[in-house]
């Protein structure tokens, strides 16, 4: 089955992962800008990173027939440094019109601090002023519920952003209803320990339906599996869900969301 992984950090993965994903049916992916595992020293490091996301990775993906898209921002963790964040945000427009850029992301909160909230709102301002899609990271573990609610509050205050142009990611059992009820796209991340398993994600699909739901591996340099979306496909099949239903979740939904970006073309 063809699928799209709408959230995976391929700069942290081996070329072998591209090959395995292609074998499993991956036809496209999107790569949000994120934390490198250490705090970068200057805005220049982000310039290099944005070049990697917009120039190098699309070529590496294309070797395996996979279309590569990306999102640009300074991540929530480094957003604690407001001065650095503003330098990076000022640089983003230079890259926004590159053909594989889908919008602003993954912005959000990490520890739900005032600085993170300030930079989150400044990213939203950039997205609204440029009519860009937005991809949002919600915090980890004990911070997720509070942070997700705070994010939804801030989104509500930015009335220029239409909910159907925003995806709030890393949803779990205690946050999914809040996101969907507010009209946003909702991402679920398949992680071995700290987020959703394929079984629990399938439970949530059965509970909330397939509309506006995306499923991703969020594969990166930590414990994660770039083959997680095919695991969800298998779980849904084993539970008796039809191919059309499964395809809607793993291919049609991300395709529809990406299509809202004016730079996205159905065929490369």
């Amino acid at each position: 089955m063809k699928y799209i992984d709408p959230h995976i950090h391929m700069v942290s993965r081996l070329t072998d992962d591209y090959e395995r994903m292609a074998h499993a049916g991956c036809v496209a992916l999107s790569e949000p800008a994120f934390w490198a595992g250490f705090d970068r020293g200057s805005a220049l490091a982000f310039r290099d990173y944005f070049r990697q996301l917009t120039e190098y990775e699309p070529k590496r993906a294309a070797q395996y027939g996979i279309r590569h898209f990306c999102w640009l921002c300074i991540n929530a963790k480094e957003a604690e440094d407001v001065e650095l964040s503003r330098e990076v945000i000022a640089m983003i427009p230079e890259f926004l019109d590159r053909p594989n850029v889908l919008g602003i992301g993954e912005i959000g909160l990490n520890k739900n601090t005032p600085n993170e909230s300030t930079i989150f709102c400044e990213h939203l301002e950039l997205a609204a002023s440029r009519d860009e899609l937005v991809l949002i990271h919600t915090p980890h573990l004990e911070d997720k519920f509070k942070g997700t609610r705070m994010i939804l509050d801030m989104l509500k205050n930015e009335s220029r952003l239409k909910p159907d142009r925003v995806c709030v990611d890393h949803a779990e059992e205690h946050t999914i209803k809040h996101i969907l009820d507010a009209g946003y796209w909702c991402g679920m991340t398949l992680y071995p320990v700290t987020k959703c398993t394929p079984q629990r994600s399938t439970d949530l699909i059965e509970t909330y339906g397939t509309d506006r739901l995306l499923v991703n591996s969020a594969g990166d340099w930590g414990p994660s599996d770039p083959m997680a979306v095919p695991q969800l496909i298998l779980e849904m099949r084993l539970r008796g869900h039809g191919e059309q239903t499964i395809s809607k979740v793993v291919h049609d939904n991300p395709f529809t969301f990406f299509s809202k970006c004016r730079r996205f073309k159905a065929e490369s």
């Binding site: 939203l124 509070k146 609610r149 705070m150 205050n157 205690h174 539970r239």
Partner: protein, 86 residues
């Protein structure tokens, strides 16, 4: 979208996995109890959360997963002040 599995099929398919995870939890708690400083560990807020979550499992469903998530979550304060929007 309706669940496709019957309750019996779901029990058949997930029984061993559930059994395994419960035994893992029991063994994890035993390991904590065997360690030096076990009395202090019992007072750790994370142990309090674990006990509350286990109690939640014994309650009526559905919604146990969501309730357990909330046990491990920092509460949301709807009186917080978002940054001024431009």
């Amino acid at each position: 979208m309706a669940q496709q599995l019957t309750a019996k099929t779901a029990l058949d398919r997930y029984f061993l996995e559930t059994r395994c995870k419960i035994i893992e939890i029991a063994a994890n708690l035993d390991r904590i109890d065997r360690g030096d400083g076990a009395a202090a560990a019992v007072q750790d807020p994370r142990m309090v959360q674990i006990r509350e979550a286990v109690q939640t499992l014994l309650g009526d469903g559905p919604g146990r997963a969501e309730k357990c998530q909330l046990v491990f979550s920092i509460p949301y304060d709807d009186g917080w002040s978002p940054p001024n929007s431009k």
